[in-house]
Symmetry: C2
Subunit: 689 residues, 2 copies
């Protein structure tokens, strides 16, 4: 179902119902661009830390507009053992709703726009009929503004601010005559039989003076309102009214204003509904979608990654990323290509089963045969299909096997709140509800060199060390990972006397970064200040200069868009194989981190659903639920999630209801429990790989 | 005529012809936004200096995209004494033409986008079928890149770079086997009867190695080319060829590449043609159009205003701004509203005559009755109409009067190269071909105060000084102009002991600014760094915070869009009258500037065409032509502009042809002559006002 400004209001209830009745929700967003600075290769460095990646995306992706939002709700019909699906495709645009509303600026990236255009994206629908929205700060300010207006109006006493009653309003000299004229006219009105009279159009400042003066002089008996004439000039109408009449008018006015406010909040109301439902929200490679959704409809993203994780848990208590799920055991070796379209295709074939899903009555039927990829609603739909296929596949490992695995099954909990991290070779996901994996990178070197250097120069430099991987950081630095750790010291030593280049171990590099960080408080700022990237630079041709050098001359484009060779050079065609090679090495090096939550591979192996080593019965999953969470459930939520008793969701449900609507109080919360243990399980690498 | 990527190439000749045969050209641009920072009120401060205004527009308007360009050519048919008009409406979008092309980011401003949407603007046409473009730097780099590719190919000797012949190519260790395999295959090919063979797809780096190696080992007898398979993977095809064949293929390849280059230069070719024609180019309130055109299709705008003036004179040797013309004698008091639509309406009525203009065969007929305002092609068209009406009106002052005044008539020269400056109360125009007016501002005060202050606080502060004007600079500072100069010192003195606020004279302020400037080299940078404005700020809600304070809560919008009240508070509804009042004062204060070219009002009065004080014959205008320019004419240009012998244009024509295609060598040039004398004339204020 297509939702624009034209049919948004009348569709709201349909949307709310769909969310409320759903077992899970799938979402997808389309943006006006991906990176306003570095190319994707630099934005997604294979050796980023989660913090670095977050800061880069925050800094270089958030000025783009999320202008199409796909929501697909899936409800399981036990009786017919099939899912009923309702899909919504929202067009979003921050249309200024009044002269005092925010005038949002957003960036467009020609490669992304051109890509969407090639997919038949309808930009006119976005810009002409897009649904407006406000984040929570803006909404709050608008409410305050509304209050102020009520103070000014000489309406119901309750709305008169104390100050405006204290005494005479101070009227600037040059406006005194004007105001006195108005007062005379009011006196006449009160003494003659007229009901009301108009004033000539005047400035906002003069109108304010009139409101304040009359407010103070005639707290009752008068109704003052601002109207617009056909020339769009604003003028004031003053009328005699009895208390009854005045209260009624005030009432009407306030209801109208309230409705205008709701219209302004617009699409944000849908996101609030999704958030308050606390339902499982599914996306494919969804980190950017989540970041944009929070940034655009809740609040500017926090500086610190952990704060971001907490905000995210407030807004989306349960997330699941199908790209991460597909690249994890037991799906990893069954699925060769995890791009959405490919994944959907593979999950229709054995050993997987195509899921039974039907569109609800009155909702459009999507045909997966004739792909409409990159329409947000459709992408959300097939993301849902992928999840159902994979979830059901997990059921085959149960004894007895099950055909249908619910969105609340413990079997999928290990995948919760782990968002796929693109092209980080040894950290597959961002752990939203727990600490991140901390691979040792003791075979990695940090190399700085003259900006003339190309990849080939680095290959030459390290030609003695066999197979290496190069990860560009910027013009003059890159990470180089060696296949053998013991070579690291040799490389560092040999570089001692080099003049043109410099080699540090990864550890040394991270240390110096830490100091840097402490010197100038925020990494993002200084980290990139030094880099040659900046919107203006790109526009003014300097960035172009770089793109033409052919060193890394690729337009940042969405995962699905990146042509093979680009993929190649970004991840490294020459390193594509060795990436997996590398993960193999790294995973062996993964250590237990006392402070962090990651465990050794072995320790967690048994907790991987359907893990080949030995299938496991549903019961054993109870262990993955901490007593603390169990206790925190309220009876109501018990009911709501009774079928498989999901303590986790209900905990959150309760937290949120306790927090009220503005559910983003960054409430501190222990982020441990099932995930921390299953997290490393997710990263488990079986010998048979 | 609508021109998109689809019909651009086939339309080029039509466009070139139209430009060549035209008497003058009218242009107009539509942008994706106006200001990415301050509101229009702050962007267009009533007391900006030309330098400040230029820097603000450069800093806050150039990241937007000029995505629709209107060109209207007007040719006068002596025989039928009418103009024949050809209008073109170009849709423009920087579609990346290859993976190595620039990936432009541009900003969109919701208020502007929303406004265009409300005018029925077709965004799909822009984003799906927009014509690409390159600026001169980008074009140059692309040419170099083309050369590089030819070096790599083992084509015609002339294209082999010396380096690649010097000796064996250094092949990184891990690629040696790969390259050797290729060499074996080549040997086989040369010894068997096959004509050619394919290699498996490989990385760009590997292809480069292959090219270089074969280039060096087999300078002749082989043709190597890169092709794409259906999976869009790139592979190499190696074929045996004799010299003939190889040369032919190289030839074809180079022609194809040349054509691709031309396609990439795209719309810039139209601007180059306009520039090279050196025809009179007309626009309405055209400063932003000119800045965007140069910025987008020629080069990033220079830091210094005088450099910008020189670049502009290179690109557009003769400009005329109809808004400036309409707000100047003798039109000033005949025309109440100079917004394009209003102007067009008024110029159809007495004392003006509706111009005789017809669309050329095969070109759409615009109907001024059913307005299509804000379609660039249409706006350019009625801008042309306005110019013709006003030009012809000047003819009525001649003895004997003339019905038709040509675009080359001396009568309009005084209006050349003076671009309207919006809302600067005492500097009506930016003088592109001369020094700018330098009004004394000795009745102006610079006031700083706490950010809580509103306009009313300032009125209160100065209530003793009668009628004042307030011009906000930022949150905590504003200019205040008093009606009497002698009050300035009083105000400054009284402020000596004030704590909350501070008052300086305009002179003192400018001095401190100058020092500031010298401390941090570029005004734009530091000047705005201190201000609370910034895209991110606006997006992240802080800017919003400000817009909601209601102090200056207006979306930056184009002149025509600004609703009455906005106009009011920006220029000041309460100051609208006093603006003219003020100009009256200022104009009296205008001084001769020894270094500058501005003259006293009286001195120049006689040079105003059709100036009421006394009409003048065409001959008297010869005085406004300097001998230097006369001499600099070449016979060819003489012919070209013979009918009224326009030394000025031809000078430029010659300069340019001397400079060749890339006509932007910032060639130093005395900017004096007719304008400097007429400039003050334009600013002349008759007693009868």
């Amino acid at each position: 179902m297509e939702v624009t400004r034209k049919n948004f209001k009348e569709s709201l209830n349909t949307i709310y119902t769909a969310i409320e009745e759903a077992d899970f929700l799938a979402i997808d967003g389309e943006f006006s661009g991906i990176s306003d600075g570095p190319s994707v290769s630099a934005l997604t460095n294979g050796l980023d830390t989660p913090e670095e990646r977050y800061h880069k995306l925050k800094k270089h992706s958030m000025d783009f507009l999320l202008f199409q939002f796909g929501l697909c709700t899936f409800k399981y019909e036990q009786s017919e053992s099939k899912y009923v699906m309702k899909s919504f495709n929202f067009y979003i645009f921050p249309k200024p709703f009044s002269r005092s509303s925010p005038d949002i600026k957003f960036v467009c990236q020609s490669s992304s726009i051109d890509f969407l255009a090639s997919q038949g994206f309808d930009f006119n629908k976005v810009f002409c009929n897009g649904i407006p929205y406000l984040n929570q700060e803006e909404e709050g300010q608008l409410r305050e503004q509304l209050e102020d207006k009520r103070f000014q109006s000489n309406g119901a006493q309750s709305f008169i601010s104390p100050s405006s009653c204290k005494g005479p309003v101070s009227v600037p000299e040059e406006h005194k005559d004007f105001i006195n004229e108005v007062l005379d006219k009011v006196e006449d009105l009160l003494n003659n039989s007229d009901k009301s009279f108009k004033l000539e159009p005047c400035t906002g400042f003069q109108r304010k003076l009139i409101y304040q003066t009359l407010n103070w002089k005639y707290p009752k008996g008068l109704h003052v309102e601002t109207l617009e004439n056909e020339k769009k000039e604003r003028y004031i109408l003053i009328s005699k009214v009895d208390d009854e009449e005045r209260k009624r008018r005030e009432q009407e006015k306030q209801e109208k204003e309230q409705e205008e406010l709701n219209d302004a909040v617009g699409f944000s109301r849908v996101i609030h509904a999704i958030s308050q439902s606390a339902k499982l929200v599914i996306g494919h490679n969804m980190l950017l979608d989540v970041m944009h959704t929070i940034h655009q409809f809740y609040c500017p993203l926090p500086e610190d990654l952990n704060d971001f994780k907490e905000v995210t848990m407030c807004v989306f208590p349960r997330l699941l990323d199908t790209k991460l799920m597909a690249s994890t055991q037991p799906f990893k070796e069954l699925i060769s290509n995890t791009s959405l379209a490919e994944l959907e295709r593979q999950l229709k074939e054995a050993p997987f089963k195509p899921p039974k899903v039907e569109s609800a009555d009155g909702f459009p039927r999507y045909d997966t045969a004739s792909e409409q990829l990159h329409e947000a609603g459709y992408d959300a739909y097939i993301t849902g299909l992928c999840f159902i296929s994979m979830a059901n596949y997990l059921g085959t490992f149960l004894t007895p096997p099950r055909d249908h695995i619910s969105a609340r099954s413990k079997l999928i909990e290990p995948f919760f709140n782990k968002l796929f991290l693109m092209r980080i070779i040894d950290i597959p996901y961002l752990n939203i509800s727990g600490p991140d994996l901390q691979p040792k990178r003791d075979n990695v070197l940090y190399v700085t060199f003259p900006k003339e250097w190309k990849t080939s120069d680095l290959y030459q430099l390290f030609s003695a060390f066999g197979n290496i991987q190069v990860f560009w950081i910027d013009d003059t630095s890159a990470f180089v990972s060696l296949s053998q750790t013991d070579q690291v010291q040799i490389a560092v030593n040999t570089s001692r006397y080099a003049e043109s280049y410099r080699i540090q171990t990864y550890a040394e590099y991270m240390e110096s970064r830490l100091e840097e960080k402490q010197n100038c408080r925020r990494f993002t700022e200084c980290g990139w200040l030094k880099s040659p990237y900046s919107t203006s630079a790109v526009v003014s041709g300097y960035g172009f200069n770089r793109t033409l050098t052919g060193k890394r001359s690729f337009s940042p484009i969405q995962e699905e868009q990146i042509p093979e060779e680009t993929e190649g050079v970004i991840g490294g065609t020459w390193s594509h194989a060795s990436v997996t090679q590398d993960i193999r090495n790294k995973s062996k090096k993964m250590k237990t981190d006392a402070t962090g939550g990651s465990r050794t591979v072995e320790g967690a192996a048994v907790q991987v659903p359907g893990y080949p080593v030995g299938s496991t019965s549903e019961d054993s999953w109870l262990t993955s639920q901490t007593p603390g969470e169990k206790r925190s459930m309220s009876p109501i939520q018990e009911e709501q999630y009774s079928d498989e008793g999901d303590g986790y969701a209900s905990t959150w449900h309760q937290d949120r209801s306790a927090q009220g609507k503005k559910g983003c109080k960054h409430k501190k919360r222990k982020i441990e429990g099932p995930e921390s243990s299953s997290s490393s399980a997710l990263f488990d690498v079986p010998q048979v790989w």
